[in-house]
Each structure stands twice: as structure tokens, then as C-alpha cells.
Symmetry: C2
Subunit: 415 residues, 2 copies
């Protein structure tokens, strides 16, 4: 939680943190400011002190919504600095950062964070390090940075926001199911629209985006609604021109986000319209079986990766490749079991076999459980996924309910 | 245009460029790959050679849509490298980058680009520079990087995509106008819904997002629909709880983007519902007047900043503060006249008074023209904005038509 940041800074020996970039679509900055339309901001937080946010004059009202101490870049007249910098914009920005550091008395080890333009950052930081030998900037691998540790456990407001996105997600999934199963079917088992034209994956996605927007959620652009072979490649979004057909696995992995780069929900169902091939049904049954076993077994404070191992062992007993018996498997079980979800669609805790010992199901984490099996060459893939909150009382609470049907009967078609 | 990249690299003495991050919401990577759901990719383009894109196995199909040469990270077994790196993830990533550079024979001056996590980047690049003394990484201020120069002029496909966003934008603005003017009005001049509850700015924004989603455009989250005092602060998004009232300036600055982080359109109208105060009408007339003069005067290959100067001089003749007579003005004319628009909502050419000489209205640029006047303390702001394409034949073509009415008559209310 946010209140852990000072302890995390201390553990990493950081005297201050520097966060750069926009307030939106920039998880560390969003986490500290609450988002809003503030661009190219500079936030500094010294250990055991409140954060100070620097921004342009035009965005002062947006910045004030953060509740942080706001200061304006216009305190540092850029025209004069640019002249002093010999028209070198990167040097001018480094000089401004130096003045900000001096004004706030920042020195020592300073962690640097944010999601922003790498080229500008690199140019500015090279100058800054020369100008400011008293401050040592420190980078951290994103997956285990102090922000990822702080964000790992959620407070009640965060849980409520993620739960709300879960409600929207499952509503939209239900609408998508009704939409698909209401279509007529051509003799070649392709779904057709009222005008007789085939229903494409692009048509379905347009509907999904609309339903999300109606509910104030951002249609997550990379979400997966893949059919046939594409369903067998875990992160393939599918081709908009693909036609919707009976008897093919459809992987629907939807992870909408609050507007302005806020909290995500993560959810997957796999469907087969009208009927399922015996081979796909067998895969589905195995995924469903291990999913149920996992949920039954989840224990408070257990190691997340133990469940990845359990999943691998189960799939291996069924004859599949997994990360436990195969290096970089391209079919079978090819990913890890889940991940935390919050302001990042993927965040701590991690469940990979090589994840650190500290990735545990501790109170306050929100994780996905998403076992799957993929056979792209056979045109099949199956994944089931829900998001669970590890409650302070130790209960694993699914944040949104939705049925697990695999075969969706078509309303106007019978085998 | 993209075909200018090699010449731009040569002019900046770059032997290669390195682009990092996701394909979506990352303009340099989108520009070279065409977007898609490819995360944490590494793209390398040597001078006068095609680009090579490295990505994870699971995203190989998405990456292949770019048409570039695709290579997989699994060529570099991370398990072994991580052991070699003593479990230091940043060092391991630096080692992988070193191997990629060696495999592609990259050395010399390498420009680094992309929009990504600064902390990871900084940690990796510090190791990489030590490991790879034969390559010198180079950063550039974003506003004038080689990508901003390449992107500045658009090819026909890019113009068509921006024009399509313009069509969607103006359709949605028209729907918003109809929506607002159809409401009933309470005796205190607040607009009310059918159930008698007041119409809030949040209600209006929900509708706008829906109309955009219906058209396959992403509801740009930071767009501005501000009324009253907020309208007087150029980048204030407005407060969702503000009520819609007659006789107040509403600044509607809408800049939707194609899904997946593609092209933007940029557009503003200012409205006053039912009637306008004489003071607001006077501001509007002045903004409209200089807008017309500017459009009349735009010349092929003219310097963009000359029109900023012309705008300042006009406003000064009317008694307003401008960047020409006031340092960082907080009221009056407080910003610059316009900017290029494309994969970035703000890109080259720039129009500020201190912009470089090379910011000219050359064939192929798409620019906004957006004069405005702001008096937050008086609760008023006015801006008019359209996007123009400087055609190869020298004609300045407005990419989407929309009327310039200021006062919008209410259908069920008369003064």
C-alpha cells in the first residue's frame, strides 16, 4: 500500500524518489497523484516527507486535484535557462531539475520512476548527472521496483474500484454471449448477420467496445477475442476479418481499465459456439479441472509459484508440455498461472517457477488465476481466468461471478 | 515521412536506432511497426537497412503483422543469462541487448527511442554502456528528435486516417450540440434531464465517449469539455459535477485517437447555450476574427511562428496579454497558435515564438490553428480550432468541416 513507500525506500536505501511523465497512463505517477490531465510533470518525494508535484501553469487546476503540494515550472524561467544552456533543450531541462533538487534539498540516492519518453529522459539525465554529482540516480527493474511492492497490496478503495471493473467486465461478457448466440448460421457453420453477411471478429469487437464505453470503461485495445488457430497463440488478438464459426474455440480475454489510466480487471472465458469437437472438449475439461483444484487449494500466505508448479504437474500427467518439463514450450501450457492486477495489468505478486520467495498470497493482494492449454497447429486454445482478492480475513474472494459454460448453444441452430 | 529516416539518421550521425517498449501507445514504435499487441519489444534499424523486431514468443503472430523481420527473445535463453548475471534482472537484460547488438553487428552512435518504463531502462542502460563500449547511446529532446522530423510530413494513407478521425470528431460534436440544446431549462438556467435532475458535465462526457466508441474511436480521456471558470483555464478538463447552464462559455476541445494508439484529430469549438453575455460575445468575436484572418493568410512554406506573432499582435491591439508582451501570461492569450498532429497529439511543426526556423508550413504537414482567449477569474474562455493539411499543391485544406456558431439556441427555451 501507499503507506509502505517510506519503508520500501528505506529498505532500498533511497533518500528520495523522482517520478517523471504524465499523470495518466503512467502507473507510478497515477499512484501518487490520482491521475488527471497533467503532462510532463516532475514529482519528488523525500523519505518520510510528502510529495511535491511540479507542472506547467496551464495544468495547475488538474494538478491541484491530487491534493499534493503543487509548484509551477514557471518558477524557473525557461527562456533565461535556454539561453544559459546555449539553446540545448536537454541541458535546459537538466538545469531545471538541478534547481528543483537544490530548492527541495534533495541529494543522495534517488530512485527514478515513471513511464515516459526514453530519448528525452536519456538526454536530460546524462546532463543532470554531470551537473549534480551529489545525487545518484538509481533505476530498478520494473517488475520488482518499490512501486510494484507498494502497489502489491490494495486498500479498500482500490478493491472497490477493481471490483467495479469486474462487474462491468462480466456484464459485457454476458452481452457478448447473447449477441453471438442470437445469430443465424449458414450451412458452412459461419454466423451471419441480418443482411446475410458473415459476422466477423471485427464486428464483435466493435460491439464489445461500445458496451464497455456505455459503462464508462475504456475498451482495452489489446484485448483478446481470438478464434481457431489464433486462439491457440496466447496473446494473439485475432484478426478482425476472421469469421465467427461454430465448433471452434474462442478465447475471450478481456481486461478493461478505468478511464484515465486507472485500475484494471482481468478475466477470460473460452467458448465453442453450437458444439465442441471432442478434442477441444477434452482440453477444456482439463483446464476446468485444474482451475477447480487450484481454487480449492489456494491458501493464505502460500507461495504463488507453488500453484504454478501444481498446474504444470497436473498438465504433465495429462501428457502436455509445460515450463516444468520443456524450455520455452510453444504448445501445451506455455505461460505462468497468474499475476497481480491493479494499476498495471500485470504486477506483483508473480507466479513463474523462478519468481522470488516473496511472491506470496498475502492479505490485500489481487491476483489472477488463469490456467490454459494451447495447440495453435490444431487451431485450438483454452483459458479460464478470474481475479481473486486475498481478503484480510484470509478468504479468497472472486471479485466477479460468471458461469463457466464452454459450449454456447445457438438460439436458432441445432446440430 | 518514414522514407526520410535514413537521411535524418545521417544528419544526426547515427549508425543505428534502438526503439524500445510496446507497439501500442508508443509513437516511435507504432510508426515503424504499425502498432498491435506486442509488448516490451526491441527494434533495431541500422542506417540504410530494414528494421528487425525482437519480441516474446507469445506475441510472434502480432509482431509478424508489422511486415518487419521478426526474431524471438527465446533465441537468448534467459534462464542461463540470469544465472550468469547473478540473478540481476537489469544486468540480464543488458546482456541480452549486448548479444542482440553483436548478432546484428551494431556499433557506433545509436539513437535510443520509445515510450516506456524509465526505471528499468535506466537500470539496464547503465549496465549496457559498461558491457558495450563500442556503442554510444544517444538521446534527443523529444520535440525535435529524428522521429518528430520524420513524422512531420504525412503520406496519403496517414492523411486519410487523420481525415477519417476528423469526420468522426465532427459527427460527435454535432451529436453533442443536439443533445445539449434538446434539454429543458430550470428557472435558474441549469439544464435538466427528463427526470428533473440537473445535467452534469459528467453526463455529457459519458454520452460523448459512447458516440466515439460507436464509431470505433477511442474516447480520448483527457479531452476538454469545460464550462465557466474551468473554460478559462486552457487545459482544465472540467469537473464532472459541474452543472450545464445557459450563458456560460463551454470550451469543447476533442482529440480522439484511433484504437491501439494510432492517429489523432484535434478540434475545438466554444459554445454558449441559449445566450451569451456581451463580454463573452466580445471575446468570441475577437477569436473568430483572428481565426479568419489567419486562415486567409496561411502561405505554403511560411514560418509557423510568424502566425503566432500575428495572433499576438492582433490580441495586443485589443488590449490582451500575450506571450509577446508578457512573460508566462495567466490570462488573455496564453499558449501558442498550433502544432502538428499525427501519432502524437502535439508534434512538429511548432508555432511558439521561439520555435526553430525549420518549423514551416511545408507540403505534407498537418497542423492545428487554435487561437484562444482566457479569463478564468471572469469564468470565461474561448478557443476555435481546426486541423489543416498543407497539400502538395499548396492548398491549405481543412480536414473536417463544422460550423462556427457560438450561441446555441435551446430548442425548448427562449430568453
Amino acid at each position: 500500500m501507499k503507506s509502505d513507500l517510506d519503508a520500501l525506500m528505506q529498505a532500498k536505501n533511497l533518500d528520495a524518489i523522482l517520478v517523471l511523465g504524465n499523470a495518466e497512463h503512467n502507473p507510478p505517477m497515477y499512484y501518487l497523484t490520482g491521475g488527471g490531465h497533467v503532462s510532463a510533470a516532475t514529482l519528488i518525494k523525500k523519505h518520510s516527507e510528502g510529495a511535491v508535484l511540479f507542472c506547467g501553469d496551464m495544468e495547475r487546476d488538474e494538478a491541484a486535484k491530487s491534493g499534493l503540494t503543487i509548484r509551477l515550472y514557471s518558477e524557473y524561467p525557461w527562456q533565461e535557462m535556454l539561453k544559459e544552456a546555449g539553446d540545448d533543450v536537454a541541458l535546459m531541462n537538466a538545469m531545471r531539475l538541478q534547481r528543483i533538487f537544490n530548492d527541495l534539498n534533495v541529494s543522495g540516492r534517488v530512485g527514478v520512476y515513471g513511464h515516459s519518453d526514453l530519448s528525452s529522459f536519456f538526454a536530460v539525465i546524462n546532463h543532470f548527472q554531470r551537473l549534480m554529482p551529489g545525487a545518484t540516480l538509481v533505476g530498478e527493474p520494473r517488475d520488482n521496483s518499490i512501486f510494484m511492492y507498494a502497489m502489491e497490496t490494495k486498500d479498500e478503495e482500490e478493491v472497490a474500484r477493481i471490483r467495479r471493473m469486474g462487474k462491468i467486465t462480466t456484464e459485457v461478457v454476458g452481452l457478448t454471449r447473447d449477441f453471438l448466440t442470437s445469430h443465424n448460421v449458414r450451412s458452412d457453420e459461419v454466423l451471419i448477420k441480418e443482411d446475410g453477411a458473415p459476422l466477423s471478429l471485427g464486428d464483435v469487437k466493435t460491439q464489445i467496445n461500445l458496451w464497455l464505453a456505455e459503462r464508462g470503461a475504456v475498451p482495452t485495445e489489446g484485448y483478446i477475442f481470438a478464434i481457431g488457430r489464433d486462439a491457440g497463440v496466447p496473446h494473439s488478438q485475432g484478426n478482425p476479418n476472421d469469421l465467427m464459426r461454430l465448433g471452434q474455440t474462442i478465447v475471450f480475454d478481456i481486461y478493461p481499465q478505468e478511464q484515465g489510466g486507472g485500475y484494471f480487471y482481468d478475466f477470460t472465458r473460452t467458448w465453442s459456439l453450437g458444439y465442441a469437437t471432442p478434442e477441444a472438449q477434452k482440453l477444456y475439461d482439463q483446464v476446468n479441472d485444474i482451475y477447480d483444484k487450484l481454487i480449492e487449494d489456494l491458501d493464505l500466505n502460500a507461495s504463488f509459484r507453488d500453484y504454478q508448479r501444481m498446474t504444470c504437474e497436473y498438465y504433465e500427467s495429462k501428457g502436455h508440455q509445460t515450463p516444468l518439463n520443456t524450455k520455452d514450450p510453444k504448445q501445451g501450457y506455455v505461460h505462468s498461472l497468474g499475476h497481480g492486477v491493479g494499476l498495471n495489468i500485470h504486477e506483483r505478486p508473480w507466479s513463474g517457477l523462478t519468481a522470488n520467495d516473496d511472491n506470496i498470497l498475502k492479505p490485500g493482494v489481487i491476483i489472477t488465476i488463469e490456467p490454459g492449454l494451447y495447440y495453435p497447429e490444431k487451431g485450438m486454445g483454452v483459458r479460464i481466468e478470474d481475479s481473486y482478492w486475498v481478503r484480510p480475513d484470509g478468504v479468497m474472494e472472486k471479485l466477479a461471478e460468471y458461469p463457466y459454460d464452454f459450449v454456447l448453444p445457438m438460439k436458432k441452430w441445432k446440430k
